[in-house]
Symmetry: C2
Subunit: 418 residues, 2 copies
């Protein structure tokens, strides 16, 4: 029978084998007390199963706060282990919301748990039959943006909020004149009265359509339509009617049902923003790795997924960034690729092109920069060009310094940011 497999990094002051059974029980047929109705037959059929328990190391202090009674029992030894659990699909069916409650529900606060992080998720094919995955992904994004090789070079409207509709359109004009491939709203800018969505889309698309006529390709603008469902649908329809080619939504704001419904309605790629990812991941002993988490959103329909960037301005380490990006490009499961496009951002200047390409082995990505484009000493066009030249060099195996000999924009970038 088909089963769902989830792997956790676990820390426990309890006997790890016992803790594993408690977690498996709590997340399936068991509870705190033994019940006569939980028969051996029922448990064999519906219970979660401990598939693997691999002891790693131990600590003398618990990672997460723990009641005194538990600390007393632990006797100063908190064992860390990899725990793989599996569930019969028949418990829940291929339902993403109930999957979330099953693999990441009432288990992080269990007393026997002093640290728990979901690090891997393997789903049976039924999920790919029940959910559509991204409608556009890499191929569709390339087709709509006219960028047939290399990354889409992108940027974010800044200041995030505070610009009027007219000022936003002027900034977009500057960007499309500079040769940009991709522009996104900030996650804080959706439909505030100070810069209403409808007027912003109309003013920006006027600029973008004119640019497309000149360029023979349309720069892609991800308009942040995050809101209630009727608002998101109506906003999507406006972007479509205005000839736009992308919409953006904040995953943690709208949730799995919001994403699923947006995907059902959408005729445009969905640029998925992970704002709030920090509260899900910043404690290494709690929450989620990106690899299992992003699978849920790709099944639901995300075309582009944010992964931060190398040498970023946040606290995330480079290896975590690259693991996230590789996960977004890896198949959701053997029978369904559902590839999405990783979106790199934060403190990016073009100087990260080589390492990004080396780490990913692919240029199927969106590489966005704010300061790296607006702050380039030669202006926006030079900012975009320096990015393009850096990526071309990376893909052709030419060192950055050598490539700069043939690219004044890249030479300027090197001089400025190194």
């Amino acid at each position: 029978m088909e089963r769902i497999h989830a792997t956790y990094w676990l820390e426990t002051g309890d006997d790890p084998a016992h803790a594993a059974e408690v977690i498996a029980g709590e997340q399936s047929s068991g509870t705190f007390v033994a019940l006569p109705t939980e028969t051996p037959e029922l448990k064999a059929r519906a219970g979660a199963r401990v598939e693997r328990l691999q002891i790693l190391d131990s600590s003398t202090v618990p990672s997460l706060p723990t009641p005194a009674a538990v600390a007393h029992t632990a006797n100063g030894r908190y064992t860390r282990a990899l725990l793989e659990l599996s569930w019969p699909l028949a418990n829940l069916g291929p339902c993403l919301p109930t999957l979330m409650a099953t693999i990441a529900g009432n288990l992080y606060e269990l007393r026997c748990v002093t640290g728990l992080r979901l690090i891997d998720l393997q789903l049976p094919p039924a999920f790919a039959q029940a959910y559509p995955g991204p409608a556009f992904g890499v191929a569709g994004t390339r087709r709509l943006s006219g960028v047939h090789s290399g990354p889409l070079i992108g940027t974010i409207i800044k200041p995030s909020v505070g610009l009027s509709v007219q000022q936003t359109a002027e900034q977009v004009q500057l960007l499309v004149d500079g040769g940009i491939d991709f522009i996104k709203d900030d996650e804080l800018q959706a439909d505030g009265p100070a810069c209403p969505f409808d007027e912003r889309v109309k003013a920006v698309m006027r600029v973008v359509r004119a640019a497309a006529d000149r360029l023979g390709r349309m720069p892609m603008v991800a308009f942040n339509l995050t809101g209630n469902l009727d608002q998101m649908k109506r906003r999507h329809d406006l972007v479509l009617a205005e000839g736009g080619s992308c919409v953006m939504a904040c995953l943690n704001s709208i949730g799995l049902v919001g994403m699923t419904e947006l995907r059902r309605h959408a005729q445009l790629p969905i640029h998925a923003h992970r704002a709030g990812w920090g509260y899900l991941s910043r404690s290494p002993q709690l929450g989620f790795d990106y690899a299992p988490w992003q699978k849920l959103w790709r099944l639901a329909g995300a075309d582009h997924l944010h992964v931060n960037g190398l040498r970023n301005k946040f606290s995330e380490a480079d290896d975590s960034v690259m693991a996230a990006a590789r996960a977004v490009l890896a198949p959701v499961m053997d029978s369904a690729a559902m590839t999405a496009m990783p979106v790199f951002s934060s403190g990016q200047t073009g100087l990260q092109a080589h390492d990004t390409y080396a780490g990913l082995g692919s240029a199927d990505l969106i590489h966005t920069a704010g300061g790296g484009i607006f702050g380039h000493p030669g202006g926006v066009a030079a900012g975009v060009q320096s990015f393009r030249d850096a990526w071309q060099a990376a893909q052709e195996g030419i060192e950055l310094e050598r490539a700069a000999l043939d690219s004044p924009a890249l030479a300027q970038a090197l001089g400025f940011w190194r």
Copy 2:
């Protein structure tokens, strides 16, 4: 002008005043680099404002992992403070999803942040005009359940998963015969093929309707309809058609858009389960307190909200449980009460009635127990009766031991669980 106020517990290795400005900037008009377009006028209009920065204490180690460069600058001093920020409503309008990205977006992972937790949220009245709040709340739940005073005594179908439709109905029969007020599905049990939603609702409601005919009041059953939106709507309609009086949804599974849409459609109280709350709250230096978090869900329409229980079987301390319950009964804002009903659960036996009532000053709650009812030595009816008698004594100011002299069920409970 109307503003949104959020208060955080902050830990930083930076100068706290500087860190406060960085957070305010990142979550409004600022970014990592100074931009000429962020004029003083724009910043005054659209920027988040630091309203209060109250230094608390400091630590020599950062609570959350921090890049070496940051740790170096911190020089072994991580200051803790209360930070209150405010935003102009005009930035986002009264939109819950964008509010989420604003107050809890890309800020937990900032380099200057070594700990951040949202502890308070004050919203302008526009949110109460844009969102309906709970349709039933305390009064509607009492009306539909026929429990006009004291708590609703409730329980959870156990085993959580694995029972067939027929076995589930048999368990409900046992519970309604025992005089129960409220029954809920487990968060793991929605519409798995092993116990399909439709058949379960039909079989259970047959039992419940018959009980209502005998009792003159209908025990409330919260059927877990968590799923995609069309599924949730269809399932709701079935519960309604079968004469049911409550539906249940997992908040972290469906998200704010799911909850908002369910509320728009629903004609029944929505029992809101917080499965996954642990990953949002278990690290004291990260994530959310319950008080600000639950406000979003009440605005969106939650009628009942889980708060754990005193002396529970999880790791949450009693003061946190009571703070959560008080928050659920407190008004969302001065101009809109939107009161929901707190749901106590986990390791509850009736022995917590006095302390729960003393801590809350109200019996407007649902008190659920699994073992405390099924495990009572006198059986289910005695389990329910012991809970009722304990609560009556608590409300009348009679000590538990004295009340037990007049209640064999309570006396048995005391003998068994003390």
